[in-house]
Amino acid sequence: MFRNSAAISLHLVGSLQRKKAGASLSRCLHQTLTMAKRLHARRLDGIDHNPWVEFTKLASEYDAVNLGQGFPDFPPPDFAVEAFQHAVSGDFMLNQYTRAFGYPPLTKILASFFGKLLGQEIDPLKNVLVTVGAYGALFTAFQALVDEGDEVIIIEPFFDCYEPMTLMAGGCPVFVPLKPTPTRDGELDSSSNWQLDPTELASKFTSRTKALVLNTPNNPLGKVFSKAELELIARLCQQHDVLCITDEVYQWLVFDGHQHISIASLPGMWERTLTIGSAGKTFSATGWKVGWVLGPERLMKHLYTVHQNSIYHCPTQAQAAVAESLEREQLHFGQPSSYFVQLPQAMQRSRDHMVRSVQSVGLRPVIPQGSYFFVADISDFKSKMPDLPGAANEPYDRRFVKWMIKNKGLVAIPVSVFYSVPQQKHFDHYIRFCFVKDESTLRAMDKKLQEWKDELGA
């Protein structure tokens, strides 16, 4: 469509130049002219489409219970809200720019807090970068280190931005799947059953591999990578001299006594790992958009360069609020009063509630070890109602979700969105639910499920 209008405008621009059109004529022509040149940069090729836009739009149009997008519908903890209030009503100079790479009290607490967790001496001025959300951290890392032709290993299913970010940096995504191992009859699947095949993983590393993106706890599956699994990845990264970009935004959301392990804490990994975290997921305040990267100076300096040439500073007051909140958590660390203890306890209950509820209509959940989400198998629906409305090649899970929003009043996200195009046809039978929701939302969900169940019975 654009190429046609470009051709027309090229013709018109040419004729204008020859005729020296008067002001009103040129205004009229220019109203409809678009530039003859190709407008967008090539780096945007293939990355303009965003599946979220469609589903968020639908969710807002129907009276549906939103279990789709990953954000809490309950408030952040009181101490965090207070921290924000302090930041916005305190020293008026907090309304002005702060240090570009991070508000000093925030980088200081990040360095001390995570230094302990990672068993590493972390310099707040050289090993820490504050970013606009973990999303911004990922972008900065890709832009700093991924070059034209570099390969980036991405484990499927993956948080959907890893692929376009790799492409925008000129890199080639190389996918490797987590594969479900078969469960016994009657047993619910668990995210721990989804595993990498070590031989397959090793085969993905080539001389062109620049980085591997790890996400633990994983979105959408909720898998918490075990020490053995991380050691496998670490061994391969070291063997092939590859960087590890590890997205650990859900590090506090782990259940059933599982342990989150940061790969940067394994021997030989600190010097080749960028560890990404999120205040939004840590303090249930996704709207603050504060994230961070921790890593060795020789990698961080390149992220600083991208940062100073892209956004330069992050908002000051949100950083101040996060600093105060982290300071509070440091004091309570490991104790029952810690938010990092209370939140996963509460969310485990929500998870269990939702996992139980969805089974009543024939959805088969995969129990997550961590994160905000679980996926549910919709194969039974696929065989009973294979012909749901949708575009010709539209994966089944997307058609199912649209149907479910319109007819059953529940929003989820189709898991094929988290897969590379070739894999989408193999993984079109799962939908993702977010359980980090208020009691009232879970009750509303139960009501919709009950109606659905009744309709099935009738």
């Binding site: 205004r27 190709r38 519908d73 570009a100 931005c161 305040a285």
Partner: protein, 421 residues
């Protein structure tokens, strides 16, 4: 060690940054800081109060719409519809970004390709050059030049572009020109004729215009800020960038916006959805409220869009007078909150400043910071390598400072002049 740990080519050579160096220098609390462009005056009370109120509203602690919080894009579209005299679609023709800096980045990443040329007017806000290079494009420079002064008062309007020279910079590879009006650091407010000249060339060569208008409200008596996007044929090829930080004296909120036709904005939106996805919610809500407050009283002297430039004009005149009184030759700005001055007449003894490869103004500022406890920014920091010599006698002072800061600067400058006489 490993080649794999080397930076991506796109940022090769872009690691140094003038601000990092000079902010560190000025961080000493005994230094009177007229360097970096940030106000040390508080933002208006109602702006602070809005943000305070909002901190208590729960729903604003979670993600909002990626391309801009609905109440904010609505407020922006209402405000700018008046100024553009045309309807502006809040969802398709506006993008909210992390400061105007973020808008510049999104515009350049979205629209500028490897091999493109981008015209940059010297002196330039320093990020334009590295951003254009990071996009793989070639900056093409043209300098503002001053006409000879003949003892008259030096004004930013005396600095102009030579029309023939400007025309010679455009060719078939020229993807965009970056315009900054009011201009940082000179404070020039481009006139209708000057903008028409640029517009004609953009249309003739089918070039985009990225117009950085962060100081749009800071225009002094006898001058009017004009938007190039309102000129015939320009809306469809212009991205106009604005800043909450400069509009409401809240640089730390880091909110900016790009306004333009959908066929351009959509590419900036693509960059946004692949870079940071969304900006902070509570700040956007507070900004929306601040806009509504001032939009309701745009004709009023109380409206911040009117009161701030009035307040700053007084400070501008004070700074200009002060600099003149001590033998510096200031260029009185028509807009913005900076003033540049030729410091060469002071003939300061910079012999103890090492690193003789640095331009004169770099050495001067470092010497002045260290010895006079007054900081500023060297104007050659706003020049490319080849043009640094043209501007190395100039230093930039920021005057959006409280009276006590300007008093302290006055003390230093007067003492300095007493020393010399």
């Amino acid at each position: 060690m490993s080649l794999k740990f080397k930076n991506a080519k796109r940022i090769e050579g872009l690691d140094s940054n003038v601000w990092i160096e000079f902010t560190e220098l000025a961080a000493d609390p005994s230094v009177v800081n007229l360097g970096q462009g940030l106000p040390d005056i508080p933002p208006p009370l109602y702006v602070k109060e809005e943000l305070s109120k909002i901190a208590a509203i729960d729903s604003l602690n979670q993600y909002t719409r990626g391309f801009g919080h609905p109440p904010l894009v609505k407020a922006l579209s209402c405000l700018y519809e008046k100024l553009y005299q045309k309807q502006i679609d809040p969802n398709k023709e506006i993008l909210v970004t992390v400061g105007a800096y973020g808008s510049l980045f999104s515009a350049i990443q979205g629209l500028i390709d490897e091999g493109d040329e981008v015209i940059i007017i010297v002196p330039f806000y320093d990020c334009y050059e590295p951003m254009v290079k990071m996009a793989g494009a070639t900056p093409v420079y043209i300098s503002l030049r001053s006409k000879p002064m003949d003892g008259k008062k030096w004004s930013s309007s005396d600095w102009t572009l030579d029309p023939k020279e400007l025309a010679s910079k455009f060719n078939s590879k020229t993807k965009a020109i970056i315009l900054n009006t009011p201009h940082n650091p000179i404070g020039k407010v481009y006139t209708k004729e000057e903008l028409q000249l640029i517009a004609d060339l953009c249309i003739k060569h089918d070039t985009l215009c990225i117009s950085d208008e962060v100081y749009e409200w800071l225009v002094y008596s006898g001058n009017k800020h004009l938007k190039i996007a309102t000129f015939p044929g320009m809306w469809e090829r212009t991205i106009t960038i604005g800043s909450a930080g400069k509009t409401f004296s809240v640089t730390g909120w880091k909110l900016g916006w790009s306004i333009g036709p959908y066929h351009l904005i959509k590419h900036l939106q693509t960059v946004q959805q692949n870079s940071l996805y969304t900006c902070a919610t509570p700040l956007q809500e507070a900004l929306a409220q601040a806009f509504w407050t001032d939009m309701k009283r745009m004709g009023d002297p109380e409206c911040y869009f009117n009161s701030l430039p009035k307040e700053l004009e007084v400070k501008r005149d004070r700074m200009a007078h002060l600099l003149e009184s001590v033998g510096l030759k200031p260029v009185v700005p028509d807009g913005g909150y900076f003033i540049i001055a030729d410091v060469s007449l002071l003939d300061a003894d910079l012999s103890d400043m090492k690193n003789s490869n640095e331009p004169y103004d770099y050495k001067f500022v470092k010497w002045m910071t260290k010895n006079k406890k007054l900081s500023a920014i060297p104007v050659s920091a706003f020049c490319n390598k080849e043009t640094k010599l043209q501007f190395e006698k100039f230093v930039r002072f920021c005057f959006i400072k409280k009276d006590s800061t300007l008093d302290a600067a006055e003390e230093i400058i007067k003492a300095w002049s007493r020393q010399k006489s």
